[in-house]
């Protein structure tokens, strides 16, 4: 299991979503699928069809910026953040 912290703006888009969630996944790609299974449509908000994490979304695993292929060890802390963007 890993612990994932979701951005507030994302949680607002999914009425029953939680800011902190524990999931089982081997890598960030699997984590995105697990989020999507729990809250359908969430993967589309975080990833595009390149496939890649969206340009203005940052995923940090154990304090390092991650890609979809980044592995997750059991107990890992994952932060998903919205980047500075907009106007």
């Amino acid at each position: 299991m890993v612990t994932v912290r979701l951005p507030a703006l994302l949680v607002q888009l999914f009425p029953d979503a939680e800011r902190v969630v524990r999931l089982s996944a081997d890598d960030v790609d699997g984590l995105m699928n697990a989020l999507d299974a729990r809250w359908p449509g969430m993967r589309d908000r975080l990833c595009d069809t390149t496939p890649a994490i969206r340009r203005h979304i940052n995923v940090f695993v154990e304090g390092r910026r991650a890609k979809l292929a980044t592995p997750l060890r059991p107990g890992a802390d994952v932060f998903i953040l919205t980047a500075v963007s907009g106007g």
């Binding site: 703006l9 994302l10 607002q12 888009l13 359908p40 449509g41 589309d44 908000r45 975080l46 595009d48 069809t49 390149t50 496939p51 969206r54 340009r55 203005h56 979304i57 919205t82 980047a83 963007s85 907009g86």
Partner: protein, 360 residues
């Protein structure tokens, strides 16, 4: 029975709704909706009373938002609103249309998607992507966007789309095959002798005349046009207008000869009303003659633009006409353009204006 009139406004920071009765004298503003997402186009489907909004967010990508209760609650979906892996991903949804029980949305990079379940899931209209010209499509100033979707109310298989810097395309078989429909529209930005290509025209807006499914009007980067053969050929109707440049065109809800443009001073001159004096120009004879309608509009210091989806008419008699400005003002006329009032100001930049009239 009294009727409720809604002006549905897509802005850079969400959807706003202006609400009035049949008289349209006083308005109540609601919103912003859609979590402040940039919304390029929002419509009210007169068949279902449902509101749909097409947009995209730098963080979270494209989505179509749907409200079944006139804006009180919303859901969003982009399920299926995607190109195959490896292709440039869909950045944002740009336009939306409802017809024959279906929803269509146009996206950037240019493409068309259809929903058979009121916006919950989407599927690509692949025939447009297979058009032989597709590898040569080049983005315009706003990107490679499909912004105009015109459906035929009498034929579920017929449709036109407008793509910036690419032109107008037509299908008669439900989207399986498409043909270019740009004959007679100019590309003033190309070298002499090359200004009437098969495609590459910068269409800004296409609208269908009521009751005449093959009478189309078009505002182009380079001129205003009319077609009486479903876009197979276009005739310039810009004589008598102060400029050949502008973005939106709107048609009267019942009179095929009555239409409205907002000419701006020019593509390279600031893109605001000539002399910074705002006017809507109306023709009552299909573009043969024009008159400027200014009463109630700012006649000095009006440096705003009006975007390609930001003008609409309503279903009342006399018809209402509405346009939204790039500086966040919404102007409305309840006498077919003769006089105007500002019914909202200081909104975010307005991308689209549509109307919906429902039983109160």
């Amino acid at each position: 029975m009294s009727r409720k009139t809604l002006a549905i406004i897509g802005t850079k920071k969400g959807v706003f709704i202006l609400e009035s009765d049949s008289e349209r004298e006083t308005w109540r503003r609601r919103g912003p909706y859609c979590e402040h997402w940039p919304i390029n186009h929002a419509i009210g489907d007169p068949e279902t009373g449902v509101i749909h909004a097409a947009g995209g967010n730098e963080w979270f990508g494209p989505a179509v938002w749907t409200s079944p209760d006139l804006g009180e609650t919303w859901t969003h979906s982009s399920q299926g609103l995607a190109y195959p892996q490896g292709e440039t991903p869909v950045k944002t949804a740009w336009s939306i249309a409802a017809a024959h029980g279906r929803l269509y949305t146009g996206v950037e990079p240019a493409g068309l998607f259809v929903s058979e379940d009121r916006g919950q899931t989407w599927a690509p209209v692949e025939g447009l992507q297979r058009h032989p010209s597709r590898p040569e499509w080049q983005p315009g100033g706003i990107g490679l966007v499909l912004h105009s979707i015109v459906t035929n109310p009498d034929d579920r298989h017929e449709m036109w789309v407008g793509i910036s810097s690419v032109g107008v395309f037509h299908t008669a078989d439900g989207g399986e095959t498409w043909t270019t429909r740009n004959k007679g529209t100019r590309c003033d930005f190309l070298p002499e002798g090359m200004r009437y290509p098969e495609f590459g025209q910068c269409v800004h807006c296409v609208a269908m005349a009521p009751g005449k499914s093959h009478r189309l009007y078009q505002q182009n980067h380079c001129g205003m046009y009319r077609s009486d053969d479903g876009g197979a050929s276009w005739e310039s109707i810009e004589a008598g207008l102060p400029s050949s440049f502008g973005f939106p065109v709107a048609v009267h809800p019942r009179d095929a000869e009555k239409l409205f443009f907002v000419p701006l001073n020019g593509a390279e001159l600031g893109r605001y009303s000539p002399g910074a004096s705002a006017a809507v120009w109306r023709s009552d004879d299909g573009g043969g003659h024009w008159s400027d309608k200014r009463a109630g509009l700012p006649q000095e210091g009006a440096y705003f633009g009006v975007m390609r989806q930001a003008m609409a008419t309503d279903a009342h008699d006399p018809a209402g006409v509405y346009f939204g400005s790039s500086n966040g003002s919404l102007y409305a006329s309840r006498d077919e353009g003769e006089t105007w009032a500002c019914i909202a100001r200081d909104l975010p930049a307005i991308s689209s204006v549509e109307t919906l009239v429902v039983e109160a």
